[in-house]
Symmetry: C2
Amino acid sequence: MKDETADPGPKTARTSRAARTSRSEHTRALILETALRLFQERGYDRTTMRAIAQEAGVSVGNAYYYYSSKEHLVQGFYDRLAAEHEAAVQPVLAGDRDLAVRVRGALMTWLDVAEPYHRFATQFFKNAADPESPLSPFSPESAAAREAAISIQERVLHGSDTRAAPELSDQLPHLMWLMQMGLVLFWVYDRTEGTERSRRLVERTAPLVARAIALSRFRLLRPLVRQVHEVLEEFLPGAAATRATRV
Amino acid sequence: MKDETADPGPKTARTSRAARTSRSEHTRALILETALRLFQERGYDRTTMRAIAQEAGVSVGNAYYYYSSKEHLVQGFYDRLAAEHEAAVQPVLAGDRDLAVRVRGALMTWLDVAEPYHRFATQFFKNAADPESPLSPFSPESAAAREAAISIQERVLHGSDTRAAPELSDQLPHLMWLMQMGLVLFWVYDRTEGTERSRRLVERTAPLVARAIALSRFRLLRPLVRQVHEVLEEFLPGAAATRATRV
């Protein structure tokens, strides 16, 4: 088996590797799907990896191969949500240059994408809120989903015709992500039909955010902007790290 | 026993009622004390009412008489924290009229008062963060502690020489309480020695908050202030209810 002459040649190898990747991606997706369904049905705490494997029709070893713990399944969920948002938000990013419209569009799209998971998110939230948990939005383990969300905010901002105060422009996408986390918190607590109240909050705050950003260039607000800049510089989770990886 | 002529007269009755109240307050405090110690030592989830009663040297029935569930013990903890903050914050409220100094003082005092409970708060936080939990700071059950905290912010503001935009003045104490909840969130996640980073955050943001409030009277910011007012009017948890009870 280890005989290198048995290599079927570059082209075939590539094809079968692709086939394997696709099969493997399929299994990975199936396990995640099954896990999310069971989490919703039985609750996160009461769902075991064994039960997930059984329902997905794979061996327990196979399930652990793809996701080495339940926490990794939730990270998989975060990544999927981020990918779905990235796809759904494209028309907003390519659309209207008005900042209020873009902020509103990006957040509404997130609410649309997240809607099917609302019940799960509600049940699950107390685990993510635990400061010791790798599932917190601020944890190193959540970096990929966090960076993806910040990158969307960056494009919301940079594709608009509004210019913020120059000293804030690096930090604004992070600040907007933090606000998005505030919306997520509100949404988790939201018990209205179709999370109508969260939608209303976006509707009302998007013009406000756009206006505040536009105002940041005014002379009267310079001292305040400088203070905000300094606080963000010191406290914004991951802002420095993100900049560093981009250099 | 039910013979009304056996009544020992108003004065004696009042005295013995007072004595009973004080004994009863003592038992109540002892149970709370013991519960907090056990929560810290063993974790919230693993501490039973039975264990609390045993350690406090009271019967289980007696423990349940004072606190009908573990959740009520945590509400007792919130109320105690609020009472300790109310006592400790007096010098700040009676002191300097500079708004930044007052905002900083009120929050630093909270950090001082809360310091001994930091470890417990960290362990316990995931329970409070559960949207279904009566222990959430937004729950009806937490109303007393919430109102107490808002009342402190009210006095921070009204004792200062800064005047906010008139349409915001009713809502600002609530908004400042919401910011305090943001600080509590930051503090729960804070792992620095003596929660030094939380103190630093207060140090840096207090002047910023004071400046933003002072700026709210400027003409340039009127449209923004109006928008903020409308959003708060619609979304501030409990703001309308609080006003209603005051009428």
